[in-house]
């Protein structure tokens, strides 16, 4: 540490003192800058990351209401579909090249959002029709409307490749515009997101 109270004996001593101060200032600035950028790196951004694990109609509706709401609020939103949630993304059923278990899974799971059942009161399919009818009567947007809206608003749709593999779901069975990803793609978004949910 330079003794600031000591008066320099001559001009050269003063120059040295200033040069020393200048060096310390620059070093301090560099440290501050790197520390600030490290802190910035840790701060969340205007993002929302939602895992859609459930293939239940009611939970699927909730996930899409939140996703469209988040997009409206200016959050860059990503929906990660995994396990039963994948059923909502299916557009066609294909049995080609699948083993017995995979074929059974394909036949016994819904193909697309319209075949989903609610988590409560499924009643062999009557529950879904009832819930949809009740929502329609009350002018609530349908799941299909919400899904189309989410797409239109730029909500990203990522399907978990590992669970697709496990469930025997092929990429060509899913609707257009679905990206494939893994846990790291979710965590990369979630660790930067202000909102992160598991539905």
């Amino acid at each position: 540490m330079t003794d600031m109270t000591a008066v320099p004996a001559d001009l050269n001593a003063l120059k040295d003192l200033l040069a020393g101060l200048d060096r310390r200032m620059s070093a301090l600035e560099a440290t501050m800058e790197s520390e600030l950028s490290a802190i910035k790196e840790q701060l969340p951004e205007d993002k929302a990351a939602i895992i859609v694990f459930s293939g239940d109609l009611d939970k699927m509706i909730a996930a899409h209401i939140i996703a469209t709401g988040a997009a409206t609020m200016g959050l860059e939103t990503t929906l990660f579909f995994t396990f039963w949630g994948l059923n909502a993304l299916k557009e066609r059923r294909s049995l080609e090249g699948k083993n017995l278990a995979e074929r059974m899974m394909a036949l016994m799971t819904p193909t697309g959002s319209k075949e989903l059942h609610p988590s409560q009161m499924a009643f062999m399919g009557a529950g879904a029709a009832m819930l949809r009818q009740m929502m329609k009567q009350k002018d609530v947007a349908s799941l299909e409307d919400l899904m189309a809206l989410a797409k239109e608003m730029g909500v990203r749709t990522v399907a978990c490749e590992m669970s697709m593999e496990v469930m025997g779901v092929r990429h060509e069975e899913l609707r257009e515009g679905v990206e494939l990803g893994g846990v790291a793609s979710f965590l990369a978004e979630a660790s930067k997101a202000r909102v992160s949910l598991f539905i």
Partner: protein
């Protein structure tokens, strides 16, 4: 009655969550900074929703909200400025 003069009015009557804010955002995006969107909704939840939206969204500023009784029902009116 509010004295704010809006640039555009959005009829959001009958719409349920999340449609009033979704439609409002779409309309607001077509306005220029400083212009004002008036939204008329019948969804009671829209009062808190518009407050929450304006708090988070960077392009929306909530100027005023009022409840108007019309024909035996309540209308929830929101005035949003495009920032």
């Amino acid at each position: 009655m509010s004295t704010i003069s809006e640039t555009k009015t959005l009829d959001a009557q009958g719409l349920k969550c999340p449609m009033p804010i979704v439609k409002a955002k779409k309309e607001l995006d077509t306005l220029s900074a400083g212009e004002i969107l008036k939204v008329v909704a019948t969804d009671k939840g829209s009062v808190l929703d518009f407050q929450g939206w304006a708090k988070t969204a960077k392009t929306a500023k909530l100027l005023d909200q009022e409840t108007v009784s019309e024909g035996g029902r309540e209308l929830y009116v929101h005035y949003i400025e495009r920032v």
